[in-house]
């Protein structure tokens, strides 16, 4: 027996709420309900999309995806709630040609690995590490379908006064594409 083959049981209701939240997130993004998406994000959310690369001399997962702790980096996205809100506001100006007409998208989110973390950010809340793979299929023109794919390392919190609030506290999106299929204003 190894650590890999032993799983810590987690609260089934929390697991259910988290998988519902992941599905809801994909749904509101695929249907361009950006304001609802912003509501799923904690006020102090960090949303990071680093650049994947192969660095000689690193090993294991870091060889391709780095440590995410570079003092000075040029990621695709490294956003606060305000940064994401600005991006949403731009899409909602009615002038953002890159989403006019809106893209047709389908986000496919894989089964979630859920692990409870030490403690929640506030009393009465519980914190979870949630790891999911995803693909995002995006169509803007007649025949071209662009695909983004990767792994998301999230931290979500569950619970508040009535115990049902689910919020995304942080997300790191490890894209598996060295050359992205397009410039993008979509969210993963």
């Amino acid at each position: 027996m190894s650590a890999t083959t032993k799983e810590a049981a987690i609260d089934l209701q929390d697991a259910h709420l988290l998988t519902q939240a992941l599905a809801r997130e994909a749904y509101v993004l695929d249907t361009n309900q950006y304001d609802q998406w912003l509501e799923l994000l904690a006020p102090d959310v960090r949303y990071l999309v680093p650049i994947p690369e192969w660095v000689h001399g690193r090993s294991g997962a870091e060889e391709a995806f780095g440590t995410g702790n570079d003092a000075l980096a040029f990621p695709y996205l490294d956003e606060t709630h305000e940064g994401l809100r600005l991006r949403v506001a731009r899409l909602q100006t009615g002038l953002a040609h890159g989403e006019m007409p809106p893209s047709m998208t389908a986000r496919v989110v894989g089964v979630a690995l859920i692990e409870q973390l030490a403690k929640g950010p506030a009393a009465g809340t519980r914190r979870y590490r949630v790891v999911t793979n995803f693909t995002l299929h995006q169509t803007r023109h007649e025949t071209r379908v662009d695909v983004f794919a990767g792994r998301r390392e999230d931290v979500w919190s569950v619970g508040d006064d009535d115990g049902s609030q689910v919020l995304l506290g942080s997300r790191t999106v490890h894209l598996i594409e060295r050359v992205l299929p397009r410039a993008f204003s979509t969210f993963f």
Binding site: V55, L72, R90, T93, H97, E142, L180, F184
Partner: protein
């Protein structure tokens, strides 16, 4: 003062953005004989440091050679069966060994190891003949490295001409420590011919207010997100270097007047005294005692395929974008962020985030450009559509470029500096210049300096 006469490229055929034979001809002429950006000294500081990057549609490795101390550029290709040698984006290695039969090469490009050589080859292998294929010409301006496959090409400094002092002053200024490149470039595809991207950065300030209307609208609603572009009163110009003569390198939004500097000071004030002091120091170094000099330009294109963005501000990282040709209808963009090495960390971090938010893969500017280019690319594929030329006639043949006498005076003074020829902010002079230069390469010119004729190259003619 040059007048903005037409040069024969007031129209450009749609077929030049579509035809496979034109594309192949570009690879054999423009990309085989012009100077192309292949990295920066700061990417490979120690012996053995390397980065992998494209040059034209070839894969190269920029590698710091221990023996010569030079940054050298090699095809990323084993001489035996052509296998890819370097498999990482960056790192440090004293040798590369091919994964096929094990041939090994050192930082000087020499073939150092051939497994079972005596047993298999019987006679000594001529290793000198089988070293890595090296880019024969690598020269630098500032720390910016350019390579050229043509051994007979004119020197880089001659090729850059009036662009060289502009780059050394505004982009990679030794007085500011030179540039520090962040190691990871963003990479993304734009499904359009590379020339439309290059000419856009060389000369098209005209598109900003329409293409990027969402960003302008956003900054009106959110002062905190304000971009400086287009909302100021200062004087702005387009710069054409080597106008009508050599290789055309175009620069946009040359900012004259105190406003851009004052805006940087105000933004720096929110970051603290260290940032304010840096903005002051940087301005002093760049202006070098010349009160009348422009604060900066914002964007540009060094022919053929190096674009620059974000040069306009101390708080906006310099974006270096390579337009890598991947087919008549596909361009790969390799985009680095660079900052002044001597800048305080608070400025560096802020500057990189600003570049990320604006002209970058997930910025608020590039996706709208992407959309227009993708639509254009689809339109030049139609059999009839590709026969309809694009129009570049803006103000061609208009002798009086500047209705405002103050602008005319400034342009005349600027011309005496040897830093290029000024045109109005909204102009198509640089696009016409881009195609003049492109045409001269397609005709067989080696320097981009082939004489301008009134009869531009057309398909089927040589």
């Amino acid at each position: 003062m040059e007048s903005n006469t037409g040069n024969g490229w007031e129209t450009v055929g749609g077929e030049y953005f579509d035809a496979a034979d034109v594309y192949e001809q570009e690879l054999r002429t423009v990309f085989a004989r012009s100077w192309q950006f292949i990295g920066h000294e700061s990417m490979v500081q120690q012996p053995g440091d390397f980065v992998s990057l494209p040059m034209g549609n070839d894969a190269i490795v920029l590698w710091r050679d221990g023996a010569s101390g030079k940054a050298r550029a090699y095809l990323n290709k084993c001489r035996h069966r052509g296998n890819k040698l370097c498999l990482h984006d960056r790192g440090k290695a004293n040798s590369f060994t091919c994964s096929f039969h094990g041939w090994t090469y050192g930082t000087g490009g020499q073939l150092t190891g051939v497994p079972r050589e005596k047993e298999a080859y019987r006679v000594p292998l001529d290793r000198d003949r089988l070293g890595l294929v090296e880019v024969p010409r690598v020269e630098a301006v500032g720390g910016m490295l350019f390579g050229n496959w043509d051994p007979a090409a004119p020197a880089l400094r001659e090729y850059l001409g009036e662009a060289a002092p502009l780059l050394e002053r505004y982009v990679d200024n030794a007085g500011l420590g030179g540039l520090q490149f962040l190691p990871q470039p963003q990479k993304y595809i734009m499904p359009v011919n590379w020339k439309l991207l290059a000419e856009n950065f060389a000369g098209d300030d005209y598109h900003f207010k329409v293409t990027h209307a969402s960003v302008i609208s956003l900054m009106k609603q959110n002062p905190a997100a304000a971009l400086s572009h287009g909302l100021q009163k200062e004087r702005r110009f387009t710069v054409a270097t080597n106008f009508g003569t050599g290789a055309a390198h175009g620069f946009l939004e040359l900012k004259v007047g105190p406003e851009a500097y004052e805006e940087d000071l105000a933004k720096a004030d929110k970051l603290g005294p260290e940032a304010v002091e840096w903005v002051r120091h940087r301005h002093q170094v760049i202006s070098d005692g010349e009160d009348d000099l422009a604060y900066a330009f914002h964007a540009g294109n060094v022919f053929p395929n190096l674009a620059l963005i974000g040069i306009s501000s101390a708080l906006y990282a310099s974006g270096f974008l390579l337009w890598i040709p991947r087919g008549p209808h596909e361009t790969e963009i390799v985009q680095w962020a660079a900052v002044d090495r001597d800048a305080p960390d608070v400025v560096k971090r802020r500057a990189v985030m600003v570049l990320k938010d604006r002209q970058a893969a997930a910025g608020m500017v590039a996706p709208d450009d992407h959309e227009n280019f993708e639509r254009i690319a689809a339109n030049v594929r139609g059999t009839v559509s590709r026969t309809v030329p694009f129009d570049y006639s803006m103000a061609a043949g208009i002798a009086e470029q500047f209705p405002d006498p103050d602008d005319a005076d400034y342009a005349a003074r600027w011309a005496q500096r040897g830093l290029g020829t000024l045109f109005p902010q909204v102009s198509e002079a640089n696009q016409r210049e881009f195609y003049r230069t492109w045409d001269s390469y397609l005709r067989g010119g080696a320097s981009g300096a082939a004489p301008v004729t009134s009869e531009p190259h057309r398909r089927g003619q040589t």
